[in-house]
Symmetry: C2
C-alpha cells in the first residue's frame, strides 16, 4: 500500500531532479508504474494511464519512461519478441525467467551466478558494466 506511494514519490523526485515538470499526464503514468507488479510494455502502460487521465498520449508515455530510465528509477527490458517492457527499480538486482507459453515474468537472483560472471569477465581482461540473463522456460509438467 504505502509502497506505491513511496515508489511514486521516488519517481516524482526523479522527475524533479531531471528538471522536468510533474504534470497531470506524468502523474498518471507514475501511478500506473507504481501499481504494476508485472512487466508491461509502453502500449499497455498507455492504456492503463488513460483510465486515470484520458489525455495521456503514447508519445508522453515514451518520453517520460526515457527520463525515468535515465534517472535510474525504471528499468527497460528488451525480452525476446515484441517491444520493450518496463518495471520500477526495486531494492535488489535480479534477473528474469520468462514463461515461453504465457509470457509471464518471474524474477530471481543468484549471487553465485553473479560471482561467476565477474570471474569469467576478469579472466578475459574485462569488467562487467551490466549484464542480461534471461531464462526462457516452460512450466514443468508434473509427473507426466
Amino acid at each position: 500500500m504505502g509502497e506505491d506511494i513511496e515508489k511514486t514519490e521516488k519517481m516524482t523526485a526523479a522527475l524533479k531532479k531531471a528538471g522536468i515538470r510533474v504534470t497531470r499526464q506524468r502523474i498518471a503514468l507514475l501511478a500506473v508504474l507504481a501499481d504494476a507488479d508485472d512487466h508491461p510494455d509502453a502500449e499497455e502502460l498507455h492504456q492503463r494511464a488513460k483510465v486515470l487521465e484520458p489525455s495521456v498520449s503514447l508519445a508522453t508515455v515514451y518520453r517520460t519512461l526515457s527520463v525515468l530510465e535515465h534517472e535510474g528509477v525504471v528499468h527497460r527490458h528488451a525480452f525476446e519478441g515484441g517491444g520493450a517492457r518496463f518495471e520500477t527499480t526495486h531494492e535488489a538486482h535480479h534477473d528474469h525467467i520468462l514463461d515461453v507459453d504465457t509470457g509471464e515474468v518471474v524474477e530471481f537472483q543468484s549471487d553465485k551466478i553473479e560471482q561467476l560472471q565477474e570471474e569469467i569477465a576478469r579472466e578475459l581482461g574485462y569488467e562487467v558494466v551490466h549484464h542480461r540473463l534471461e531464462l526462457y522456460c516452460r512450466k514443468k509438467t508434473k509427473k507426466l
Copy 2:
C-alpha cells in the same frame, strides 16, 4: 581452411533439407557466413556478399538467414543497440561478452553457470528451453 568448406557444406545441406534451392546469391551469403569469425549484422553480411555476387539483395540476405536460423545452422543474436547479429552455429553452446566501447564480441562458456540456471528454474517449477546471457563489459584498465 577446410573449416570454411565444412561450414559451407553444412549450410548447403541445411538449405537442401529445407527444400529450397541453393542459388548463386545464397552461395555467396554462405561463403561470407563461413568466413566470418565476428558477429556481423544483416547489412554487413549484405555488403560482404555483394563483393562475391553483386546481385544479392538485402531481402535475400534476410530471407536466407531466416531459413538457416530455422534449420539451426545459424544463430541470431539480439544484443543491445542496433539490429540482430548472426553467427554460424558451432560445436559447443556459448554465451557472449560484449565490449561496450568497441562492440567487439567474445565468446565464453561456463558449465557451472549453466547448471545453476537449471537449478534455479527447477526450484521455481520451470525447465529451461533456452537462455540468453550477455555480459556488457569494459576492458580492464591495467594497474591504473
